[in-house]
Structure formats: structure tokens, C-alpha cells
Symmetry: C2
Subunit: 255 residues, 2 copies
Amino acid sequence: MEEIRWPGSPVVADGVLERRFDLVRDGGVVPGVLWLPERGGQAAPLVLMGHGGSGHKRTDRQVRMARWFACTAGIASAAIDGPYHGDRVPEPVESREYQQRMAASGVDVITNGMVDDWCATVDALAQLDAIDADRVAYLGFSMGTRFGLPYVAAAGPRLRCAVLGKYGMRQPSAMPAGVDMAPRFTREAPRITVPTLFHVQWDDELFDRAGQFELFELLGSPDKQLIAFPGAHHTTTPAAITAWSSFVAHHLANG
Amino acid sequence: MEEIRWPGSPVVADGVLERRFDLVRDGGVVPGVLWLPERGGQAAPLVLMGHGGSGHKRTDRQVRMARWFACTAGIASAAIDGPYHGDRVPEPVESREYQQRMAASGVDVITNGMVDDWCATVDALAQLDAIDADRVAYLGFSMGTRFGLPYVAAAGPRLRCAVLGKYGMRQPSAMPAGVDMAPRFTREAPRITVPTLFHVQWDDELFDRAGQFELFELLGSPDKQLIAFPGAHHTTTPAAITAWSSFVAHHLANG
């Protein structure tokens, strides 16, 4: 049985209340952050944000998006550290290193663990009066899609929509063969049926464009759309953030 | 010198004022429709809507979008009939027939005429107190891109943004060779520098996907994005309309 702990004090800035949490589970501790509109009143919908590789739950971009969601759209946000990332490790682990650790542990074990962590996080946050657990979305790119796509497939209609991308059916040659997600995505992407926005960087040097298109085609959602922007894998323009945020806000609007 | 005439009476419904207009030019009469937010007060930005082949200035979709723009975003809309379409012809002309007429007249002559018609329309509407001519956008697909892309290229920074698509660098085999836009698009697409949203139907049976991607790549706009939705050429989902409308409203917001 999991338990949620709230280390530290809430921080309020610019109309947003931010709280660190630790979800204590059988499998260990899941470190997370919750952002809430400061003016509560009614329960807020929730967007889950899965960070990219070498990031963590509180990257600058996630903080900025969480503030926009809270202030402009009245939406709460939550983020948790991925495997071998953030407060799950005593010090930052390099990309090559965590890929190898995943391969050594078995990518399915690690992926299932992260899926369970997201499920448990939503269960725990759903207990809060401030959260409307009937309106939940997932948003995450690159490693946030590596673990996010299996989570979205597992969550099914518990989610209202998903924003995924910067990942494909052919992984970069630098990654160990043992962490290839293609077999799993082949099974799980067709099971996703919620409205899905899939983001592609047109000049992605890590995941080739055709492999990303294949993954988009595999998605089972009748209401899916692909958006593409010029630039390399790590490029993120304000227009892209606007597109993601608008998509999430649109699908989380109304009870 | 052109002159604008307003045949008929304004029609007001659901907060939107609709007026037929005829722009009388040296080259003939350009039949158009203008939609305005009923509650004027301050000058409204303007979105130009170019209809698709076999459509006309007042298709159901354009009327619905014009109403959304007026009621929800305080944006005026204008549409004009394309060559061999709507009130420019005594009766509807079939696709094969107007393609052949274009080829016979010379596609550059017809295209330049339509570009001039759009320029003259904007000049005329800019004289109205109700219109803020510093905030103008263009939106049109398929034939609305055939003529719209050259117009957007010609208008340059007079436009704030453009929404184009459902067209590519390889035209359907059923079209006469004489109406191929590829040579012109090769020159003009790189001249477009305003923020551009390019729409692709993933399973387009008329314009192949690779040719549409080529056209997207040619666009000179640093701030461009591609959106793609499943389905055939003529499919248009509510999610697509939301994406177009949000993009236009975003770029026409604020003075």
C-alpha cells in the first residue's frame, strides 16, 4: 500500500502553489512535485508531465508549463523523476550509463516499474480534494514517451488525452539493443485510444523521421494528430509549447 | 481603381454581421463575403479564407469558422470566390473543366489574377473602420493553397500568419500538366517568412505525402509547423478546425 509524504513547505509564487512529494511504495520511493492553482475553490484537472532523458521532475520547461497550466487554465500538474534520474539517484547519471543500467535490469522491468509509479501517483493525488481525477492528461517527450506511451496504454480511458513524441520505432544506434522499445510499442501503441498529439522534430538526429511516422501510424486513437517543427531533437520552440498546452487545456476543459 | 459595392442587406445572426460585397476592378468583379463581430467598438483583425476546389466563398465550413472567429475571438473574416467558382460563373463548373480552362488561359495568368484579387480585397476592406488592417491572416487548403501560397508570398509582412496545406510539389495525375504549381512554389514558398501552419491529411489520395512534405520544407518561415491528421484529402475533423482557428487567433491577438 502506498503512502504520500510531503517533505518541506509549500511554496507559493505568482498564483501557483508548489509542493514536493514522496510516494512511498513497496518498490521504493517515487520523488515528485505537484503544482496547483493557488486559488482552489473547485477541484482542478491534472496533467502528468514525464521528463526527458538527463532531465528531472523539475526542469525549467516543466516549471514554466506548470505555471501556465495553473495560472491560465486552472489545471494542476504533477511530475515524477524517471528511473536513474533526479532524486532517485545520489548524483546525476550520464545517458550512456543509465541506458546500460536499464539494459542490465531488463527494459521491461524498468518500464513496468515506471508505469506502476505513474498509476500509484495518480491514485494518491486523486485522494486530494484539490484534484479532479476524472480529468487527467499525460504529456512527455523522448524518455517521457519511452515510459509515457506504455503508461498511456495501461491507463486507457482513465486519461482524457496524451501528448507524446520525439521517439520512434528505430532507436539511435548509440543505445544498447537491450533497451529497444519497438517490440513493446508495436503491441501497446495500437491500444491507445484517447485523443493524442504526437510531436516530431523535423530534423531529429536521434530518432529518424520515418521511424517516428511509423509510431504515429501505430497509435490506435481515432482522434490523433501529428505536429512537426523544424530543428533537432532537443529544440523546443514557444509555438510547440503553445500547441501542447492548448491541446491539453482543450481536452481537460469541462467536467 | 477598384470600388467596393454592397449588394443586399446585412444579415445579423448569433452576434455575427454578414455582408455580401462585390469588388469592381479593371479585371472584372470579385464576389466576396465579409463577416464581422456584431458588437463593433474597436477595429477587428481579419482572416482571409480561400476555399477549396469545387467550393465557393460561402461553404458551410467557412461560415461556421467565420462565426467562431467573430463570436469567440472578435476576428472578422472575408472570403472571395476563386477563378471559375461561385458567383464568377453562371453555373458550377466541374473540376476537370476548370482545370482545363486554367491550363488554356495559362496558370500563371489565372494565379496572378487571384493574387491581385486578394490584394485588392484587403486594400478595400482596410478602408473600413471595422477592420484593423495591421492584423491580417490567410487560411486556405487545396485550391485555397494553390492560389493562397502565391498570395501569401506576395503579401509578405502585410500578413501576420498563414494556414496552408492539402497541396504538394507533385500534383495528381488527373490534373493537366499545364496547371502544375511546382515551378512557381519552388520560387515562392521560400519567400514566405510569416508564421505558417501547414496541414497534411496523412492518407491524402490526391497529393502524395512526400510531395506535401517537400512543400513544407520549402517554406521560408522560421516559425513554421506541420500538422497531420489521419484520413483522405477531403476529411476535416473538428480537431483540425480547432488547430487552425487557435493558430490564427493566437497570431492575430494584440495590437
